[in-house]
Symmetry: D2
Subunit: 341 residues, 4 copies
């Protein structure tokens, strides 16, 4: 019997919050979903009903105060974050708050101070999830290794196929899209951004009237780094997020639809793993996860004993052919005969 | 509170079994590790001790018989599988048995019959995990969609950097390596293999004395498909597993170190996802998983309130620059000042 | 004044022969097209008329005998090759003969003997042009370098979008398509092919009635190498020719739509050139070739003095911005004003 | 007999000029090298001596004035260009002048005016050779097709492994390296550059003392386009030139070491050609070029009659195996026997 799971409550079950609720209920090891809250209590009830023993709580502040809730995931609209995070701090609850932390930097700074003074220790994590993306994490590791020397430049591409209907304000491209590259650049350089320049070419004819789209942002970093970022939320193509980091001895690019591409020493390319455990790590996780689910349903959803038998018969024929180079017939029992009910 | 987890026992805690034990104890949702058994009882005790409340059971058959064990993962040496799987069937336990199912096809066929007669329903899954690899699964889905027409040919590459010391027998290349492509081809074609031809070029000078390495296997499938497979267990390069499926209207290749590459209609390439949830699905899972672990340790291991504040201050500067094209300075509080203990 | 060009006559001006005639007349340095012959004399006249001073000769044998012709390129149908090559040998003319050399191996062997006895030295080159493809040539160089050790296996893919209407015979796939891989394998291994196996899966529904398409060929090479080749002349996709060579220390693949991809030492990738002359070698050739043609037409078809001036003005603004990080306006004369007729 | 070749003289036979001289003497069809001039007359004589009938002329102005010279390629140092181009204009000679056209924009503008007034028509082409690079040309064609809509942004990467010893001045990065992207952007957008911003991060530790390397340039184009360019002349990696053009319906990238990569409609990828003539166009050119050279040397340097014979024998064996799926032995004459002297 492994450790008792972390009891989590989710506030806000729109698209993102519902994803998080499902994640906690079905995919996260060592955690369990205990309650959900939403301004729309019917919506909260509907999502809660999907999972045995999950409660719907009308008022987000009640969820935060609830003793059965150890940790809170906040996926409510940005304007609600400040009050809810303050409540989490007051109750000493661990908090994962989707970005933005609050609606402006002044209120965000107040939260930093409250956390420092009231909680006396960090309790709140902000939802900049790219730091957890395996590709970004691998890029950061490579830079930390120091093999490529000091980081000099970062080039980002951030494109959405189309922007949502409510997305009419050029500032929203900065606050909702560019903000991810803001965090990525601070994190990769390990330095603050000193100046920002936003360039806006003549907008695409596919961008909604009045939206300055695409935009090009230039960051000058403390310590002398420079980052360029294209943000284009009506590219018509799809969702593209790429990042190229340029250091003194080479560069590395992620988001290409392939593993991290490194350029150094007159060569470009990627790694080939040493063994099957690296290559198939996810396959093993998924195999065992799917097997556990299937057992719960009382079925076998993967390769059966027949598959094991057939593979064995084929290998015997293969070994018989070894060295002769001649085709060898596989002798197999009659499946219909054997497995007939 | 979500459903009670599946209680799993692991038999055999060598490299693979230890991986599986750790997987069940820390990464699999809805399952928990309750016991481990190993011929080397000290080894079993050592692994069990890593996880709270996990028992070490000396005799694998006792683990199988234990009422606290609902499902059994068998990762013992192949020669032990037959007896252990028979015991699982006798006790009606769900079983995930690493390949090979048994040491020859005759005994494997007996297991098929015992499962049919004794258990009366499938209980045993064999560990051909490639079917669960996201790339193979995507390839299979594409073929099932039928968009590429009927599958005609499959070309496999299966290379290891070097073979283990005990790997001296050319037949082992068939039984331990090629066996994966045997299952992959049966699964992709949805048909049995009718004849097998094993070709062995002059061995590589890097292969151990007497080992026919590399080998080229030709499968003729029931229904008329053909598959070619290169197996090379001393390639000196790394672990490479690639599969190209050729159908009537195009081909698809996986294992390239990039997403599935499709060739059709005078173009080669891959998909660009529609939105961030597809691109960053794993990032969100990892973020929440890491957050839950960090909460257990009582720390915040991700972006902090300061990161949320700094991002907000940068975005305000960006919005101020919008349209002007002029650099705007980011006004940030003094971090050392604010966060000083 | 460079050396007098080689005077070449082309026999057979169908699709391929017309390409060759145009190549000789306009793209090949140190050679000139002097005559063309074709069974269809109107066709010959029409092609000849495209180039100043090129004669149309009715009878191919007359072209071969013509003193003004130093070298002959034979692009006539295969059945005509034997007689024409014999005539070239009789007249001691250098010959480039499209494949097949003749219609069967017996007659081809006779040509070998006639060349040996009559000409006393090699005069005839056969049109296996893949040896001249930059990618194949680079692959061969890499193998010759010996860095990857001895060549063990070759895997070929050879696909056409659709087969021509006259292509109804399964043997034609061998004689017209596979023949290229026959030469490629002999050339890469530096060894003859000892045995051939042709496997034919159930044909694609897109293949013409009665055509065994695709086919899989297995070559066993003298010296112990093995080669596999897929030939699929109705793949519906496009023209694909790929070749993966597997050696003792790594593999290399060409035909991917990218530079040669090498896999070795736990990495896959390609070269990044040292300098611009390698990267832009073709650009310089094309630039000067286009310039020479434009001069002949009395025009300037490339960047003009205005382009030179504008670039210079932009660089001056750039240098002014250096270090300031501030935008600098480019002062440019009024083009319409300056260049008004 | 094709048209009389263009008689070209080359001024300046340093690295670049020597390349051009060799190009004209051996690779360019319809042109011939007749004379070279260089400030170092010994150097000029040495280069001239490599090619039959090519004269060395001490004074570049004499070469320009020489009646035997129809066209002049200027590859002398930049400071000499103005006087030499003026002389070419005075003598009405076609001119290909390496960049820079002159040392500053004022003198370049004077050349524009002299060409307009004296020559009355364009005579001078400037050596921005990227417009002739097949990849850039394909990118330009794609944009001209209009399929991707209007061009919005261009992102350039321009890296050298190391900078030459004389390269100590940050302005040289602009004038010698960035100048290529200046022309590329003007050419791709079909518009002038209105403002330039040069950003200089903390230089790489591998850059020579005092050199601001790397640099990031921002161009604002007339018509509202924006271009970003990284120039890094001590990247330590190799020579990298990449260009990504972002338009309203998709983007295209060149310089990746693969064919142009296009992103549109939720997919990324490249073209697969329709037939062999596109895929192997260069192979045929090189084959015939090499054949012509070999004929001049009196040898056969490509596949021989034996290769034609052997291929034919293998195909006969392949046809015999067709349908049987059985290995068939290739019957080949004894090569040593047949070809013995």
């Amino acid at each position: 019997m492994t450790e008792r799971p972390l009891r989590v409550g989710v506030i806000g079950v729109g698209t993102m919050g519902t994803d998080h609720a499902d994640r906690l209920a079905t995919r996260i090891s060592g955690a369990e979903l205990v309650a959900v809250a939403d301004a729309d209590s019917a919506r909260a009830a509907e999502v809660a009903a999907r999972y045995p023993g999950v409660r719907a709580i009308a008022n987000p502040l009640d969820l935060i105060a609830d003793d059965a809730v150890e940790a809170v995931l906040i996926a409510s609209p940005g304007f609600a974050h400040e009050e809810q995070v303050l409540a989490c701090l007051a109750h000493g609850k661990y908090t994962l708050c989707e970005k933005p932390l609050t609606m402006d930097s002044a209120s965000a700074l107040r939260l930093v101070e409250v956390e420092r003074d009231k909680a006396g220790r960090p309790l709140v994590q902000v939802g900049f999830m790219r730091r957890f993306d395996p590709e970004y994490a691998e890029l950061r590791r490579l830079l930390d290794d120091g093999e490529l020397g000091r980081l000099l430049l970062v080039h980002n591409i951030h494109r959405n196929k189309t922007s949502p209907a409510w997305f009419r304000d050029s500032a929203a491209i900065v606050n909702d899209s560019l903000v991810h590259e803001v965090d990525v650049c601070r994190w990769l350089f390990g330095a603050e951004i000193e100046t920002v320049t936003l360039l806006t070419p003549t907008p695409s004819g596919r961008a909604p009237e009045g939206l300055r789209d695409p935009q090009v942002a230039i960051f000058q970093m403390a310590g002398g780094g420079v980052a360029t970022t294209e943000v284009f939320v009506n590219s018509q193509v799809g969702y593209e997020v790429r990042c190229e980091a340029v250091a003194e001895l080479g560069s590395a690019t992620i988001g290409l639809g392939q593993e991290m591409l490194v350029r150094r020493d007159n060569a470009y390319g990627g790694r080939i793993p040493d063994d099957y455990r690296e290559r198939f790590a996810r396959a093993y996780d998924i195999e065992v996860q799917e097997w556990a689910r299937a057992c719960r349903r009382g079925v076998v959803a993967g390769p059966t004993t027949w598959d094991g038998y057939a593979a064995s018969a084929v290998c015997e024929a293969g070994v018989a052919s070894l060295g002769t180079g001649q085709p060898v017939r596989v002798e197999l029992a009659d499946r219909a005969e054997i497995l007939r009910p």
